[in-house]
Assembly symmetry: C2
Homo-oligomer: 600 residues x 2
Amino acid sequence: MEDKNEKLHNLRHSLAHLMAAAVLELYPETKTTIGPVIEDGFYYDFEFSSPISDKDLPKIEKKMKEILKSWKEFSHEEKTEKEAKEFFQDNEYKIELINDISDKKEKITFYTCGNFTDLCRGGHLENPTKEIKDGCFKLDRVAGAYWRGDEKNKMLTRIYGLAFETKEELEKYLNQREEAKKRDHRKLGKELDLFHIDEKVGSGLPLWHPRGAMLWRIIEDFWYGEHIKNGYDLVRSPHIGNRILWETSGHWGFYNASMYPPIEVGQTLEEKQQNKKAEISEEYLLKPMNCPFHVQIFKDTPKSYRDLPVRWAECGTVYRFEKKGELSGLTRVRGFTQDDAHIICRKDQVENELKKVIDFILFIYKAFGFDIGTVKVFLSLRDPENKNKYAGNDTGWNFTEEVLRKIATEKKLDFTEEKGEAAFYGPKLDFKIKDALGRLWQCSTLQFDFNLPERFDITFTNQKGEQERTYMLHRALFGSFERFIGLLIEHYAGAFPLWLSPVQVKILPISEEKHLDYAREIFKNLKENNIRVELDESSESLSKKIRNAKMQKIPYLIVIGDKEKESKKLTIESRNNEKIENISVEEFSTKLKKEIEEKK
Amino acid sequence: MEDKNEKLHNLRHSLAHLMAAAVLELYPETKTTIGPVIEDGFYYDFEFSSPISDKDLPKIEKKMKEILKSWKEFSHEEKTEKEAKEFFQDNEYKIELINDISDKKEKITFYTCGNFTDLCRGGHLENPTKEIKDGCFKLDRVAGAYWRGDEKNKMLTRIYGLAFETKEELEKYLNQREEAKKRDHRKLGKELDLFHIDEKVGSGLPLWHPRGAMLWRIIEDFWYGEHIKNGYDLVRSPHIGNRILWETSGHWGFYNASMYPPIEVGQTLEEKQQNKKAEISEEYLLKPMNCPFHVQIFKDTPKSYRDLPVRWAECGTVYRFEKKGELSGLTRVRGFTQDDAHIICRKDQVENELKKVIDFILFIYKAFGFDIGTVKVFLSLRDPENKNKYAGNDTGWNFTEEVLRKIATEKKLDFTEEKGEAAFYGPKLDFKIKDALGRLWQCSTLQFDFNLPERFDITFTNQKGEQERTYMLHRALFGSFERFIGLLIEHYAGAFPLWLSPVQVKILPISEEKHLDYAREIFKNLKENNIRVELDESSESLSKKIRNAKMQKIPYLIVIGDKEKESKKLTIESRNNEKIENISVEEFSTKLKKEIEEKK
């Protein structure tokens, strides 16, 4: 694995040199700067004397291929600072780099291949001509980039290249990238009219349109139903809480940076205008998590060993202040709805509760069409060298880490242990699932918490009549609704299975005049059968209506024309272009219900 | 009606005099102050020389009855300021009142009956002895009250009396009050373990316990289902929005006082500590209503006349900063969930939309067990003398007021027109429903809005291809979930119909050892049939188990003993003490499902 990575790195690094050589041959006025390897290839930043664009890339690529023929080997030489500066005397960027190397008392080395020499630390192919396979690289795009990433510096021109060991690998990458672009939930969110993010409302605060809100409701309904079946109870909590609550929980302190600042109430308008503190005031905070509220519900009445376990679930919308630059569609937002639950139990119940949660998680993945064989699990443990930075005690940590390991093994999870990766409050299991493109998405989490039970003094009366500390588990199956819906959109490329489709059937009358009445009858019939059906009443042509409906990835289209009206039989076209003819509305209804039931 | 009211007023006023006379005979050191008539009787504020309590009330009442025998008529006399002050020379309260009357250049009058004379404006019975019926009044309670309601003044002792024309009316009132106390949703909320309000979390921010959250979910599910049937779509919006949004809507301005102050983001900790404004900042506000978000969803894509009407519903939790002293249980809160919807439509659709909403409102009342014959409706119109204080124009107002009146008449609503009661943004219909005790509760509302369509410039492309202003309706059926659940608790005195009961059946095994296993079988069976069932696994005696379950108003109890275990037939006891014997679990399940279906 290491070798393959090193070889790929050297390939990409050699290509960065090759690109710089080609650029200098084509644009001799150009100043070279730096050219590192990146995830899918390489780039090189240049100062061009006149701007270039994506249109110039084929020319550069062609030149690279020409030069490559003569690139048989890299040679290198150590240089003194003076020699190096002389060589790059007109290039202030290289001079700056040479100064940095000298300051660090490191060796200055030049690498040469063909006619091109560059300041470089090495790491190239032995024989580029031989080792760089036909069609294994491609120049990708031109972008602006500040020298050293600092916006106070000059803007340079960056050329990105893609490179893999073989042509096939490059093509696979390009296809996958193309596919990922098509599936981008931000793009599909717009096309399918699911949601939008409105700068007037606020960054990272999605607004859900009717189809998106319906998708959400379908998922939520399913989620609730399964939670009831699995012995959970629901609870509900507000979106703000007095700062005292967050001081008790400890979030106000170590978690400040991720929270929206407090809302100070009690301040008069005058005090506000004069920036004065209110005489009598309270501060409220938008909740970044639901836990302290659930704890307060637990503590409202004393609990006995017979009352445990409690399993309390809430789809609670929480708010965290992520940096604007880090926000992205539904996957990084500022307001998101955790499908949260807390399990508060006795020590002797922990193992059974963990098993149940893991079964539940895997059940949910299956229900939403993920291959549970590809689920990756991470067991985060504390850093045994730094025990004092964690809440809880040795006994608790040893017990919970051991039981997590035991259950993960028993349940045959594909898990990796990560020492030092646990939160300060307890060890955890994180679950990542693979989507249809093979990309991993962080999803479920199952975490012990030693912090809140201590801080809120959560206890129950045990069989001996003594107060005993409870165990507490946080868990989320989806993680958040927003993120999970983002994942579903990309996983299904917007073509949700029937049970999840916000619109399951669209009826397309051929002629408004002749077929609309009958189309309305069919519409009414299906709606009464709880099918999510829409009727296209636009004045578009049939082919346009079909195109629109297929773009919206609606599973079934019913075309109503003379034939259908007379025969009282339907013609159905699926989004996959399958046709069903001569079916009665009752038969079609039954077929749909069966398919919904089977979650196909 | 007027006469009856005046008579009752005079009766109560005379009783206030009579009570003061009795107090002075029993406690001659007492200073009298004022004694007005109130909703259910009267009170009088005294300065006693030593404190009295509720225990002293029977003695005072007895004395009143004694004195009453000699109270044949009230006489009155006009006094000069000097005469009046001489009479009350040791009573600084009366002196203050006399000064006030003089300042206003009003007449000073003394009224006398029996041996008691008081400063008074009149309004008494002609012959108290004859007109005050046996048992028609009752001293109620003692409370503290500041002189003139100002906490800077001395604390006086207030004695409240209840008084009605007849003994029967008083008894009816007392019974009803007793019943209302038993039904108080704050009391039942605790007994039924539905919710609590936690000062650590914040005033007016209820936390919903499992049973309360289940009740909520049942109502919400029903609500959503009916909305889908009625052609609504769902939308979802966040709980905060950029201040810009609220400036556009106009809420930031005229509605400030009811909103939580802004959350200023971007301020660094240093700026915060030094009370400095942030260099770059945004302000977010907790939403006091959902409308502007729905408007932004509407405006995300251009709309044509064919896209209208849109009917967009959201159970959106909003936050309004009510004064602490005004908060009360679930009926006055700071965070509440509106069962909100907005209808955006063309003028030619308004009438039909109104009809549909009114039918929907009445359907919902019926479904929740209210008598729609007792619904009172208020049509709020603008003040025609003050047209300039309203958004919108004459044409719009005339049309919408007229159409509301027309539809209210057609739908045979029992409605009252209230001029000048409309909000500045449009006319509305408010619906009040009567609960089981005959008390009116503000519930649904149906409001036109001329403000938001103007401020957000909401338009659609009409058939001529021109941009045309839409009509906009706000409506809520429940008003808010919190308030409506409060009402339901009091209406049903906590004994919810089966379909609403958070726990529908409780299984009570007689012996833990002998019957628990079989009880678990029954539990599993009913749960698989989607019955909300609980199993009492406590070690209490059967009679205690039954008592607990009945206090929780659980509709059906299943007692499992030897007989039931052997015969495989159940014995059911309902909360109304009806018994069903020898029924199989399947038969019982079917019976329950039927009852749930029928919403009885």
